[in-house]
């Protein structure tokens, strides 16, 4: 008995101490210096397992059933063996997903559905409530015992007097203060953990102290206690097991299993073991430290229990032996310590459990419900309040529940009820961790059925006992159905209550879980979660991107969203953490990062409101923004689905591919064959560890040369082998397939080893052909004495490798050839540009290039003479010159004495001598001091059939081949061509020179003046004759004067015009044209010129004119004209006097006769007088004609119709026509335009011509008069069919006084011509004697033009 006040004070003091510790723990965490991040702390925190139940109940159980109580603690010890795998997995998953309760875990795993979480919460709640209640009860009853020595009878005290009630309130406050100060997504409460650990230590201390007291204080030791119990008849069976149903092996087994389940899935245990864990590795300490703690704390249970029994305490008070013993044996302060220990145990359990379960309530019941009712916005700001209320509620519920339902039950049994209850979670939890096929329906079915059976078979009987239901339920079953009896379900009897419940609940639970899971298919979300859960330890790989988000919100937007739910600080911290994790700035994010962010936000939220709620909220948020998950096109889905290989094969293939890739990389690195070979050999040696490998390449003759090797001695490179068809090498080449040989095959395949080196045949050998599609290039060999046999898969691999090599070698060869071609083209091009170079420069260049392109060391070039008998050295390569020290190098070599290098000429083809040392009939050696020749190539340079030169190169490192011949030939040909062209050009230039000289001569010695001008008129050509004519010096004129100035004003324009007119000799031609040029002194010189337009490509570029000085001729013409005129005048005078004389004679004669014979015959006198008058008339007419001829008046031209005039004239002619029987034909052009003419004059002309025509046709004929237009002239023709006019007459016909008629004056045509000329026309006579005559008169259509 202790003073109430003391006890109360002690209690409060102790609680205050706990507060302080908790506060300190939380503060340290806030400062970042966690006091509990320590494996020992973690291990001891698990001691929350030991509640008042341990403290009091174990003793109670030991006193009643003996050793069986140990199973509760052995269970955890056994299951600790699995913690490093199982618990760690659970831990990993929960940490990754921010899971803080079991219901969240289940909800997340099984499709993020809320129902399962809610169900789990309900199960746990119902299982735990009585447990909480029992803690409260134990506190109050122990308090009472301590103070009153008696526990108060239940139900006797009103609530407000019940200490337990106040304790409940106190504990609620405690829980709120240290578990619900704020909403922490991680739900870690360091203060609480510190308290728990502290309390565990206090418990242990108290218990051990008591134990020591009892064992060694009250009794002489363990042995004594046990011995006395053994001897005690009523208690000795406590030392054995399996003596009855209450401690049968099956019962023990059940208890062990229950303990194994409870240690994980009691809410407080889950919280301490999983949620409060700071580091996975702490588990390693917990697995041994915790069982050790359990061992220690249970060491003294039996002594205390048995001691109590031995001291006579009633067994049904065994729960409180721990208090009664010290009290009754006079150790009240120890009792107080024990009380405090018990208090510790209870408070720890209640606080942690209430916090854990309230979190479950909020996350799995409240939030999903709120979302369902669309109240989440209203609820979220109040989440903390809700949580706190839940804590209070829970504790009070425990209190009331206990009061109402379990007042009489022993502590230990209540505990077992709870254990069995949380056991229902085990199948679902295990399935979540290890079974991918487990799905939601299975979990719900299992949990539901297990829960129901648990309730029905275990809880219900207690209700019945408490009086809530009629006892017949137990005895006869519900509705009288005996096989549904709660304690003998389906007729199963013989088991104790617990085992019975355990069996049925687990049977239905697991059975439903498995069968329903198998029968249904998980949703894609579940599958995803299953994969993530079950494979959490393999999660390190990147998952393929199969989905992406559309219109994903920005980081800021999401942060705001988070803030609205968990507060600004936490949201910002979370986002910062995410950014650090991702380490890429937002602008560079791809779909993968966005999905990660979505998941991260969801998980962060899940920590505060549970995964189911978080998922719904996030999805709601995203879809309200229009953001959706959509499938990503899996580009490789077809390939990956067609890959049917096992993981083993795939792994090997990846390894192969990585080696091939490395090889390909090295092969792409360089275009040079030695590098390529080294690359591949390097891969074989470094990556595959093959010590001996070689690459052999084929040359043109079919010999294999080792071009690269590893593990072979250097002289191997010299080996040249022609592979035998039977040998492995030969077979490999022929069949394009790899060959293998192993040491065991050796005796059989000895002949087949031809060509292979000793080192290669020591171990296993594989040969792979290096080939492209159709061409084999060589063989790749790999040999190893350590690797074992080469299998078919290896052969395929080597085939691939060799194939790659083949391709690369072929490409390298092609590129090499290309490069060489390029170089050659470059050289040839250079040569072609050397148009200004001398022959020496060209040949030297060609020589050097030839040496370079054929990779030779020396070279020479010699020209051949015309008859191909001697060679003249032209050029040597520089190195040849330097090295050769032969004195007196002759330049000319007769062909007969030349050795091999002359063979190229004699045989008229290129000669390759790859080994000068070998015997050769044509060899004639070379003089001492000459540079040593090891191998050389000589080619003849041909021009058509003719050899014009010989070129040679020598001392190439490798052998000369056709490619070199090609190079050299093309180069030399280019060179020769260039030389030839130069020579031809020179000849051409000389010829051109001569041509020009000759031309100049021609121009200047011409007797005519030659003047040429360009389009601007500038004089470009001006020969000496022109200079003489015009009085200028050529220098004054050339390039200075304009052609227009050389001509009389306006004359050049005329010429220009006429030259373009095709009428004057042709288009661009002017022939026989008279014009006037101007002498230097200003006088005009008449000239006769021919001109041509100069054209180039149909373009006028100038004009050339030949000019003849007409002055002399003109003078002569004038004189001739004058003398002609004089002659004509003379003739005219003679003619006139003659004409006058005759009539005058007649007149005189007859007049004299009349005078004489006046009186004579008057008739004769009349006749004679008549003759005199006629003669006088004739004279008058004649004189008129002469007169009209002399005073020829200017015609008065006026426009008139020619046709009209002709018709008029014809009328006058009619009589004459009729008389002479002449037909008249008129062919007058009706479209004749008006012409300018003097009608009088023209009439005269027409009359004249017509008269002549008529007189010509004195025996009749046809007179044809026609008019018309021809070009720009009007013409009229008068044609007759008379006697015609002979040629010699036609010449003179226009001369005055010339007449072919006896009576003609001879002036008619002369006058006509004058008239026509005055009209700027002309008369043309065409006549053929005997046929007829046609006279054509041309008149200008237009009026008088230029002067």
């Amino acid at each position: 008995m202790l003073d109430t006040g003391l006890v109360a004070a002690a209690a409060f003091g102790y609680l205050f101490l706990l507060f302080a510790i908790a506060y300190y723990g939380d503060r340290q965490r806030g400062r970042g210096r966690s006091i509990i991040a320590n494996p020992y702390i973690y291990a001891l925190s698990l001691a929350a397992y030991c509640t008042a139940w341990t403290f009091f109940g174990s003793v109670g159980k030991a006193a009643t059933s003996g050793v069986t109580f140990l199973t509760i603690y052995l269970g955890p010890t056994i299951i600790a063996f699995s913690w490093w795998f199982g618990l760690r997995k659970l831990l990993r998953i929960c940490k990754e997903n921010h899971l803080t309760t079991m219901s969240d875990f289940l909800a997340l795993r099984y499709g993020k559905g809320a129902f399962l979480g809610a169900l789990a919460t309900v199960v746990v709640l119902l299982a735990i409530t009585p447990y909480i209640g029992l803690q409260l009860k134990s506190i109050s009853s122990t308090f009472n015992i301590l103070v009153y020595q008696e526990a108060a009878p239940p139900l006797a005290i009103p609530i407000y007097q019940d200490t337990a009630f106040y304790v409940a309130l106190l504990l609620a406050m405690f829980g709120i203060l240290f578990g619900a100060r704020h909403l922490d997504p991680t739900e870690r409460h360091e203060g609480l953990v510190a308290v728990v650990v502290f309390e565990s230590i206090v418990e242990l201390l108290a218990f051990v102290s008591l134990g020591l007291l009892v064992t060694f204080g009250l009794f002489p030791g363990w042995g004594e206690i046990f011995r006395r119990i053994q001897e005690s008849p009523e208690f000795h069976q406590l030392l054995l097991v399996n003596t009855g149903p209450h401690n049968s092996y099956s019962f023990l087994l059940v208890l062990t299993f229950l303990a194994m389940g409870a240690i994980h899935f009691l809410p407080r245990m889950f919280h301490m073991a999983v949620v409060e864990n700071t580091d996975e590795r702490h588990i390693l300490t917990a697995i041994w430290l915790f069982p050790l703690y359990l061992l220690l704390i249970n060491l003294f249970v039996m002594p205390i229990a048995f001691g109590g029994l031995l001291l006579g305490l009633p067994p049904d008070q065994a729960d409180t032996f721990v208090l009664r013993l010290p009290l009754q044996t006079g150790h009240p302060y120890l009792a107080l310590l024990v009380f405090l220990g018990g208090l510790s145990a209870s408070t720890a359990m209640v606080s942690v459990a209430s916090i854990a379960v309230s979190t479950m309530l909020v996350n799995s019941l409240v939030m999903p419900l709120a979302i369902r009712l669309r109240l989440q916005e209203r609820i979220t700001p109040h989440l903390l309040t809700i949580k706190r209320s839940a804590i209070l509620l829970l504790i009070l519920l425990g209190y009331f529940g206990y009061h109402l339902l379990f007042p009489t039950v022993m502590l230990v049994d209540i505990g077992l009820i709870a254990f069995c209850g949380v056991m229902q979670l085990v199948p679902a939890m295990l399935g979540a961790l290890y079974w991918r096929e487990a799905n939601r329906w299975g979990a719900i079915a299992g949990l539901g059925s297990g829960f129901l059976l648990w309730g029905y078979t275990l809880v219900l009987p207690y209700f019945v006992e408490a009086g809530w239901f009629s006892p017949t339920l137990l005895t006869a079953g519900p509705f009288g159905l005996a096989f549904l009896k709660p304690t003998a379900f389906l007729g199963l009897t013989g088991l104790d209550k617990l085992s019975h419940t355990f069996f049925w609940s687990m049977f239905f639970n697991a059975g439903a879980f498995v069968s329903v899971s198998l029968a249904t298919t998980p949703s894609p979300v579940e599958e995803e979660q299953a994969r993530r859960f079950v494979g959490v330890f393999e999660q390190e790989r990147e998952l393929p991107l199969e989905k992406r988000y559309t219109s994903f919100p920005s980081l800021d937007h999401l942060t705001l969203f988070l803030e609205s739910l968990i507060g600004h600080r936490k949201a910002a911290a979370a986002m910062r953490a995410f950014l650090q994790e991702v380490a890429i700035p937002e602008s560079e994010w791809g779909d993968r990062e966005k999905i990660r962010l979505a998941g991260f936000v969801e998980r962060t939220l899940a920590g505060s409101i549970g995964p189911a709620a978080a998922r719904v909220i996030i999805e709601g948020f995203l879809s309200s923004l229009g953001s959706r998950m959509e499938d990503v096109f899996d580009l490789f889905s077809r390939i990956s689905s067609s890959l049917e290989e096992s993981e083993q094969q795939l792994r090997r293939r990846v390894a192969e591919l990585s080696v091939l890739f490395e090889a390909a990389r090295r092969l792409a690195y360089s275009p040079y064959i030695p590098d390529l070979l080294e690359g591949v050999l390097g891969v074989l040696e470094e990556q595959l560890g093959i010590e001996t490998c070689a690459v052999r390449l084929l040359d043109e003759k079919g010999f294999l040369h080792i071009k690269g090797s590893r593990g072979l001695p250097p002289e191997a490179r010299e080996q040249v082998v022609k592979p035998d068809p039977e040998s492995l090498l030969g077979q490999c080449l022929a069949t394009f397939t790899p060959q293998v040989s192993s040491p065991g095959d050796l005796p059989e395949t000895a002949p087949r080893l031809q060509g292979l080196r000793q080192e290669e045949i020591l171990g296993s050998l594989v040969l792979a052909p290096i080939a492209t599609e159709t061409v084999t290039l060589g063989v790749l060999t790999a040999a190893s004495s350590q690797k074992g046999f080469f299998t078919r898969e290896h052969m395929e691999f080597f085939q691939s490798l060799a194939g790659q090599l083949g391709l690369a070698v072929r490409t390298a060869n092609m590129e090499e050839a290309l490069r060489l071609d390029e170089s050659r083209l470059e050289a040839v091009w250079q040569i072609s540009r050397m148009t200004k170079g001398t022959i020496k420069e060209i040949t030297d260049f060609a020589m050097e290039e030839g040496v370079r392109l054929t990779k030779s060391k020396i070279g020479y070039l010699a020209f051949m003479n015309e008859d191909e008998t001697a060679l003249t050295m032209q050029a040597w390569s520089r190195t040849a010159m330097e090295e050769c020290i032969v004195a007196d190098k002759p330049l000319i070599y007769p062909l007969e004495t030349t050795g091999l290098w002359g063979e190229a000429v004699r045989q008229r083809r290129p000669i390759i001598t790859n080994d000068y040392g070998a015997a050769n009939p044509f060899k004639k050696g070379y003089p001492p001091g000459h540079v040593e020749v090891r191998r050389h190539l000589n080619i003849p340079v041909l021009d058509g059939d003719h050899i014009v030169a010989v070129a040679g190169v020598g001392n190439k490192d490798d052998e000369y081949d056709e490619s070199d011949v090609r190079q050299l030939t093309l180069l030399m040909n280019a060179m020769w061509w260039q030389i030839k062209r130069q020579r031809e050009e020179e000849a051409l230039a000389a010829e051109v020179e001569r041509g020009i000289y000759f031309q100049k001569l021609l121009i200047h010695t011409c007797m005519d003046g030659i003047v040429g001008n360009d389009m601007d008129g500038i004089i470009r050509t001006f020969n000496d004759t022109a200079a003489k004519i015009m009085g200028y010096e050529p220098g004054e004129v050339l390039g200075r004067m304009n052609i227009r100035d050389l001509y009389a004003p306006g004359r050049f324009q005329e010429i220009e015009a006429k030259i373009h007119n095709p009428f004057y000799g042709g288009e661009g031609v002017l022939e026989n044209y008279e014009s006037l040029i101007r002498h230097q002194d200003g006088s005009f010189i008449p000239v006769w010129l021919s001109a041509r337009l100069l054209k180039e490509n149909d373009r006028e570029i100038g004009m050339i004119a030949h000019i003849k000085d007409l002055r002399d001729r003109k003078r002569m013409e004038e004189e001739l004209l004058r003398s002609e005129r004089l002659a004509i005048l003379g003739k005219m005078a003679a003619h006139i006097s003659h004409e006058i004389k005759n009539p005058l004679m007649l007149i005189g004669g007859f007049a004299r006769q009349v005078l004489k014979d006046f009186t004579q015959d008057p008739q004769k006198n009349l006749e004679k007088l008549q003759i005199i008058v006629d003669e006088v008339k004739r004279l008058e007419d004649f004189l008129v004609e002469v007169g009209s001829y002399a005073k020829f008046a200017e015609p008065q031209k006026k426009p008139g119709n020619l046709n009209a005039l002709i018709q008029e004239t014809c009328q006058r002619l009619e009589p004459s026509l009729r008389e002479s029987k002449i037909d008249l034909v008129l062919a007058l052009d009706p479209g004749l335009p008006e012409t300018q003419f003097d009608p009088g004059h023209l009439r005269q002309v027409v009359l004249n011509i017509a008269k002549n025509a008529i007189e010509a046709m004195d025996t009749g004929g046809t007179l044809t008069i026609a008019t018309g237009r021809r070009e720009d002239r009007v013409f009229l023709t008068v044609g007759d069919t008379g006697v015609g006019i002979p040629a010699e007459v036609r010449e003179k016909i226009f001369q005055p006084f010339f007449s072919s008629k006896p009576k003609g004056s001879g002036l008619g045509l002369a006058i006509s011509q004058k008239i026509v000329q005055a009209h700027h026309g002309e008369i043309i006579i065409d006549s053929e004697p005997g046929k007829g005559t046609q006279v054509t008169v041309y008149l200008r259509e237009e009026s008088a033009g230029s002067a």
Binding site: L74, I78, W222, Q230, W288, L295
Partner: protein, 67 residues
């Protein structure tokens, strides 16, 4: 790691062993009225097995945390 999996197998083996030790066949052998130094056989047996379990767990923990 090969060493790791071997250790794990060993641990699992020990766990199963402990479990079996605390079950009928072997338990029964000690389930009699005998005692050693005053302590009943069963009690002693159980505690010894318990200590063995703790020792094994401790050994595993030590070697695992050394990696």
């Amino acid at each position: 790691m090969p060493a790791g999996t071997n250790k794990r197998k060993l641990l699992a083996l020990l766990g199963i062993l402990i479990f079996l030790l605390l079950n009928p066949p072997l338990m029964q052998t000690f389930n009699r009225e005998a005692s050693l130094g005053g302590i009943p056989a069963l009690v002693l047996y159980i505690h010894l097995v318990w200590i063995l379990a703790i020792a094994g767990l401790y050994a595993f923990s030590r070697s695992s945390s050394r990696e």
